[in-house]
């Protein structure tokens, strides 16, 4: 049983989420979400209630319960913040999103699309270490009106193997730690900018990033959790992404360690 009245609410992420529950559980969630903002897109706050025993959480929007999850013991902070972020992006009515990492390089956004575990975070970290500015680790937001990729400054969830694959990590502040995962907000934050390159991270082993056609890249992008998945947003997503990727280089990096290709991806973005 989860009761909202048991604890005072803590606001997080510029009013994007209201958290209820024991302070030792809501505080790290609040810390991870604190840097988050959705520019020019007001969404109703997600109310999140965490049970006192830390085993369950539920999410509400406008008083309607949208989800109730069992909180895993291992990496629970990622699970809860990920659920909140996933809820927030489904509330978007103007912007479109895709599950991806994004780095600003030379005033353009390089967007890294791949399944969980494909190496988005490590590749983004390697690009940041080479001088890129951080846009996002989990969600690439595209503004159809300006045709720009927007920042979504959720701290990077850096696992031990991410750090191993990425090499030197970007300078930044660790806003929270949980198990072996650090939630790091890089010092160099990027700004809204046009798409400069779309990179798909795939499992396998190929020596070079392969050029792929834009429609093929879009097909892959649309398979990710994204606005394409929602019947009332798929047309907006189609129009926005087809417009944004036109004349933009698309590459597939087929490797278990895509961060090893960071130099070449950096050059691709600043071509």
């Amino acid at each position: 049983m989860i009761r909202a009245q048991d604890a005072a609410a803590a606001g997080a992420g510029a009013g994007l989420a209201m958290l209820y529950g024991p302070r030792h559980l809501t505080a790290p969630v609040e810390a991870v979400l604190a840097s988050l903002a959705l520019p020019d897109e007001p969404v109703p706050p997600v109310e999140v209630v965490i049970a006192h025993d830390g085993r369950r959480a539920l999410g509400r929007v406008n008083g309607n319960e949208l989800w109730s999850i069992a909180i895993p013991r291992h990496r629970w902070l990622e699970a809860v913040t990920g659920q909140i972020v996933a809820t927030l992006v489904t509330l978007l009515r103007r912007l479109v999103f895709v599950h991806a990492a994004a780095v600003e390089i030379g005033g353009r956004a390089l967007v890294l699309v791949g399944d969980s575990g494909a190496g988005k975070t490590s590749t983004a970290a390697a690009l940041l270490a080479r001088g890129g500015a951080y846009l996002s680790d989990e969600v690439a937001l595209l503004d159809p009106a300006s045709n720009r990729v927007l920042p979504f400054h959720l701290p990077m969830a850096i696992k031990p193997w991410t750090a191993h694959a990425a090499g030197p990590l970007p300078a930044g502040i660790d806003v929270a730690r949980q198990d072996a995962v650090r939630f790091r907000l890089p010092d160099r934050l990027g700004h809204a900018c046009p798409l400069g390159a779309l990179v798909l991270l795939e499992a396998g082993n190929r020596p070079d990033p392969a050029e792929i056609s834009t429609p093929r890249a879009l097909l892959r992008l649309a398979r990710q959790p994204s606005s394409f998945r929602y019947p009332d947003r798929m047309e907006d997503a189609f129009r926005a992404w087809t417009h944004a990727v036109r004349d933009v280089p698309c590459r597939a990096v087929v490797s278990a360690r895509p961060a090893a290709f960071a130099d070449r991806l950096f050059d691709l973005a600043v071509r």
């Binding site: 056609s213 834009t214 429609p215 093929r216 879009l218 097909l219 649309a222 394409f228 998945r229 019947p231 798929m234 047309e235 189609f238 129009r239 087809t242 417009h243 036109r246």
Partner: protein, 74 residues
């Protein structure tokens, strides 16, 4: 009122379509796009590609050939 089932974009010689009914994206590579553009004239076009397009649901077999659906282009 827009009634076209497909929303489409040409990118170079290729085409990508959104099936509004199913939410599916359909990619036509350059060969498939050429065949699709001329699908009323199947003579001389690779039958295999037409069959692929038919399987993808973007052409319909009609008397004397194939017909493609109306598309709203972006």
């Amino acid at each position: 009122v827009n009634t076209a089932r497909y929303l489409g974009t040409r990118m170079g010689e290729e085409v990508i379509l959104l099936d509004r009914r199913t939410g599916r994206l359909i990619h036509l590579d350059s060969q498939a796009a050429r065949v699709w553009d001329n699908c009323r004239l199947p003579g001389g076009t690779p039958r295999g590609v037409l069959r692929e397009l038919e399987r993808a649901g973007v052409v319909t077999r009609v008397s004397g050939g194939y017909m493609r659906p109306p598309v709203e282009w972006t």
